[in-house]
């Protein structure tokens, strides 16, 4: 019977050992869970969670396969937007791309391509449905803004946005803002500041444009850049000068009922202090018949 007792004791010991192992391993993984949580993984920042069926929700409903889900939806979207037969496909453009972006914040292609599709849509809809076209254009910016927000190290997004503002929208103030944003990102191409300067010029703020170009000229690292800056400075000055001249000409005409025979007349009558010369010191070309003032040479051919 003593044999039985020791075997019982053995079995008891076995059970205790297992329970001990259970508790120890539980303590182990609990502690490690806390430790692992503290390690900041390059997990995508800014993932706030709102329980609405948006990309944010979907991200967590895909059980670790969110990147794959992003791919799948993106692939589908490409096919979808390549189908011209679908008339109203641009209606939910931003929603769809928002989902893709949320699922994989660092998936770069959808931001750019999404914006591109949006601009395409805007152009397509412009004739028939101007409201939708406007919305599509706004979507392009929304997508690119999101791209910039989620990937602050990527200069492409503000660049693309500036480009769209400049070319498609002709909103020069907006273009300027984006180019400025782009400039600040390390790795941005050097010509972006010139694009900005040009946008300021197109915006009509000639004084700032002059100062900006002058700054670029002074900082120019090579001859080519200097030349470009110089050409732009020429143009800005030409525009300023022309503005002044045309203002004076209009006054002269008002006073005397006709255009002067030459620009010196404006000085003689006291409307101008002196006849401005272009940046190279050359005269502007004045046509007394039409009253137009032009530069003697194209700024780009100096």
């Amino acid at each position: 019977m003593a044999m039985a007792k020791t075997s019982f004791a053995n079995r008891r010991r076995g059970t205790l050992l297992l329970i001990g192992l259970l508790v120890a391993s539980a303590a182990g993984f609990s502690a490690l869970k806390a430790a692992t949580d503290r390690i900041a993984r390059k997990k995508i920042p800014g993932s706030s969670i709102i329980y609405i069926p948006s990309g944010k929700f979907l991200k967590h409903a895909t059980f670790g396969y969110r990147a794959l889900a992003a791919d799948a939806i993106y692939l589908w979207a490409i096919q979808y937007y390549s189908t011209p037969a679908i008339d109203d496909r641009f209606d939910h453009l931003d929603h769809i791309f928002a989902i893709i972006n949320e699922l994989d914040l660092r998936f770069q292609d959808p931001y750019e391509i999404g914006a591109m599709i949006a601009v395409q849509g805007a152009l397509e809809l412009r004739a028939e449905r101007p409201e939708q076209a406007a919305k599509a254009m706004r979507d392009a910016f929304t997508i690119l803004d999101r791209g910039a927000a989620n990937n602050p190290d990527q200069w492409v997004y503000p660049f693309n946005a500036g480009h769209i503002a400049l070319i498609n929208l002709r909103d020069y103030a907006l273009a300027e803002k984006y180019f400025e944003q782009c400039m600040k990102i390390p790795g941005a191409p050097e010509f972006v500041e010139r694009l900005r300067a040009n946008a300021i010029f197109k915006k009509g703020d000639l004084q700032t444009s002059w100062e900006t170009w002058l700054d670029i000229y002074n900082r120019a690292p090579d001859e080519r850049t200097k030349k470009i800056a110089s050409n732009h400075l020429y143009r800005v000055k030409a525009t300023i000068d022309r503005g002044a001249l045309e203002k004076a000409l209009a006054e002269y005409r008002q006073r005397s009922g006709r255009l002067p025979s030459d620009l010196a007349a404006l000085v003689r009558t006291g409307l101008l202090r002196e006849v401005p010369k272009d940046l190279d010191g050359k005269d502007y070309v004045y046509d007394p018949a039409t009253g137009s003032v032009k530069t003697g040479i194209s700024p780009w051919r100096r």
């Binding site: 019977m1 044999m3 039985a4 020791t6 075997s7 019982f8 053995n10 079995r11």
Partner: protein, 305 residues
């Protein structure tokens, strides 16, 4: 002579059903099996035979009581080292061949490589499965499976062999073979513990038996002691005389043609019957005294309980 198996006051309840109802299966089993003997464990269906064996083997944990196997408590897996077990309807891994299965079983006993190969070869020869040794077990017939089962029960050259209904479903030749093997075990010094329904076989080879009815041992002892040599009746087959001729002497069980089967309960009347047959010029075809068999004991015990 030490005890190969010693069971004391074994109890087991089962809780079955969705709303658990407790059923007492073993209500305090006590018996012992001595080393070197052949022990038969009998009982009607549902009495608790298989449950007892499962407790022995550690498949079921008893609620109370102790079990010792060759001096070791059954709680330790080591108690099963000198054990060989053949279950009632053997189920083995059907994707293994007999050889692979025996090799696996040998590994479970920690046998060395040479010893393993040696024993597998011998056992396959013993049970007559050499030619089928490399066929997967799922291709085996019932009889072949039984033999494979026997081989795996012997792989560790056990001192105690436990067989659950080893003779069930076999033809008379198969039964004889198994009986011979069991007797040979005894000659080799092994202890055999087996359950069976076929009482004639038990009667033929067992030294001691225990009868379990309703979860209790109702009879235990040497076969010799349980079954007396008392003659219950004498059976005689006679030809040439009508049944009526034997009135008062015995009970005529059946009459076919001119043959009469007679049961004579009073021993003193036997001679009178013989005289009658000789006197009337009849023919005595057979005369056999019927002693009490195990079956009689069994039926009586079960109906009494």
């Amino acid at each position: 002579m030490a005890d190969a198996i010693r069971i004391q006051d074994l109890r087991k309840n089962f809780r079955l059903g969705f709303i658990p109802k407790t059923r007492e299966i073993l209500k305090g089993i006590t018996f012992a099996v001595r080393e070197g003997e052949i022990f038969g464990y009998l009982g009607p269906n549902g009495a608790g035979k298989t449950t007892t064996i499962k407790c022995l083997l550690g498949l079921i944990r008893p609620d109370a009581g102790t079990i010792e196997i060759l001096g070791r408590s059954h709680l330790s897996p080591r108690s099963r080292e000198p054990l060989g077990f053949l279950p009632e309807n053997p189920y083995f891994y059907d994707y293994l061949t007999a050889r692979e299965f025996l090799a696996f079983t040998a590994d479970l006993f920690g046998l060395g490589r040479r010893e393993k190969e040696d024993r597998i070869r011998r056992l396959l020869a013993l049970v007559g499965l050499e030619r089928a040794a490399d066929l997967p077990l799922r291709k085996y017939s019932r009889g072949m499976l039984q033999r494979a089962g026997l081989a795996q029960a012997l792989i560790n050259d056990p001192k105690l062999v436990i067989l659950d209904e080893p003779l069930g479903g076999m033809d008379p030749i198969g039964r004889k073979e198994i009986r011979d093997i069991i007797v040979r075990f005894k000659d080799e010094g092994k202890t055999v513990f087996f359950t069976s329904h076929i009482l004639q076989d038990i009667e033929m080879i067992c030294d001691r038996v225990a009868i379990i009815v309703g979860g209790r041992i109702v009879k235990e002892g040497a076969l010799r002691d349980l079954v007396s040599e008392r003659v219950l009746f004498t059976e005689a087959t006679v030809a040439g005389l009508p049944p009526a001729a034997f009135a008062g002497l015995g009970e005529s069980v059946s009459a076919q043609g001119d043959r009469v089967l007679l049961r004579i309960f009073d021993e003193s009347k036997v001679d009178k019957v013989l005289d009658l047959v000789r006197g009337q010029k009849g023919r005595l075809l057979s005369l056999s005294p019927r002693t009490e068999t195990l079956e009689d004991i069994f039926v009586e015990t079960v109906t009494r309980t």
